[in-house]
């Protein structure tokens, strides 16, 4: 009977240590007394309270940057964005109608003027359109690059995976992104991110420095899955210079048998490409 009451009080005491103070002073003394007499409850109290306190050490996850933007867009569409004032569709219709002249002569005049201005602007625009589109594309690419780089620096592996995915979808991989992807292959704590980065770098395998970096990365990997992916990558590049790295790698004593076999086969394949 008393043990049942004590369990409630033990749970209340956790809130007490958390600062919400759910344990009455009277109950506190009564609980202390019970714990002094009941070894089982005392042990549970010590064990579970320790765990309760350690839970505070678990890091607090953070939402991604996109969530805030998404919310602002939603709120804006509802007319609630900070500083914004909602206008109903009727209000817009009313204000536009007020600008339109009632006399047909004026209406025809405006239509003609619009046509002339349109032709003039169109003629000019055509000449500069190509360069403007190129500039816009460049700007979009730069933005994508920034997003990819910033996602690759995120703490959450799923965000970093998104960063890799983003970089894989860019029209071309910029040197900064290549560096970030190589860093991910070498240092990322998530195997999934490392695998995705290797895959993304296959688009840059024409660059000798990328191939060299991934050759060097092979020897640093502990995960057999990543090792296998890197071996596959090196075979696909058909780069004879990778032979040295593969031979060196095959000598590692800690390799799994299947990986050693795969590395041997890759060495043979590369030799045959000669």
């Amino acid at each position: 009977m008393m043990c049942g009451w004590a369990k409630e009080q033990i749970a209340a005491s956790w809130m007490y240590t958390s600062g919400s103070g759910e344990l009455e002073p009277g109950d506190q003394a009564k609980l202390r007394h019970h714990l002094a007499e009941c070894a089982e409850c005392a042990e549970e109290m010590a064990q579970l309270t320790g765990m309760w306190e350690r839970l505070a050490d678990l890091p607090a996850p953070e939402p991604g940057l996109g969530l805030q933007l998404r919310w602002e867009a939603t709120l804006e569409s509802l007319g609630g964005a900070p500083g914004g004032k909602r206008r109903t569709p009727e209000a817009w219709r009313f204000s536009l109608a007020a600008l339109w002249p009632q006399r047909p002569v004026w209406q025809a005049g405006i239509a003609l003027a619009c046509l002339v201005v349109g032709l003039a602007v169109g003629g000019r625009w055509q000449g500069s359109a190509k360069s403007e589109i190129a500039a816009l594309r460049e700007e979009v690419a730069n933005t994508k690059e920034m997003v990819a780089l910033s996602l690759l620096r995120e703490q959450s592996p799923s965000e970093r995976l998104r960063g890799v995915d983003y970089s894989a979808r860019m029209p071309r991989i910029e040197p900064e992104v290549v560096t970030a992807l190589i860093r991910a292959v070498n240092q990322d704590t998530s195997v999934n991110v490392r695998l995705a980065a290797i895959d993304a770098l296959s688009r840059a395998s024409g660059q000798p420095q990328v191939r060299r970096s991934l050759e060097q990365a092979l020897d640093r990997q502990e995960s057999p899955t990543v090792q296998a992916a890197l071996i596959g990558y090196l075979v696909e590049t058909r780069d004879q210079q990778a032979l040295g790295a593969l031979r060196q790698f095959s000598k590692r004593p800690d390799l799994e048998a299947t990986i050693r076999e795969r590395a041997g086969r890759a060495t043979q394949q590369l030799t045959e490409f000669k």
């Binding site: 749970a11 064990q47 579970l48 839970l55 607090a60 996850p61 969530l67 909602r86 959450s156």
Partner: protein, 184 residues
Amino acid sequence: MHSDHELMVAVSRGDIQAMSELYQRRHRSVFRFFFRLTGRQAVSEDLVHDVFVRMLRYRQTYNAGDSFDAWMYRIARNALADQARKHRLETPAEAHAIETVESDRPDPFDMYAKQQDLALLHRAIRELPDDKRELIVLSRFQGLSYEQIGQIVGAETGTVKVRVFRAMKEMSGIYAGLLREKAL
């Protein structure tokens, strides 16, 4: 400085901009609630968005006598239940939250040991049944009182205390099992 309750009352009376302030204050804690329950970043973000949209949609159901937290978490639980019905949630094997544990102690061995311990704790929480995990998340991480949790899950305060105790005990058992597994 308005309280969350006052802001929500303003929202319920048509002041949509007050929702912006509420979002700034609460979206992180709602995100953590979902993340600790689902372990998935993208799903949790979608759910946060859903919760605040629902709060707007159902703003007129907010009662001036309600506790804002209880109302918000009831909406959050409904959103999660609907999500689970639509897509069966997978239990993630990866421990997102434990990969970047920061410690004041620079000793690498201590840091490694702490990280390992947190990884086990994280796994122990993940292996709890959903209802028990929810109680631990609400009481330990969301900073809610047992009374508020009672309002959210529809139980007496005393019952909540006992359930939290049992959930902690079950988690402790799982944790001990994981420790033994690791030692073998």
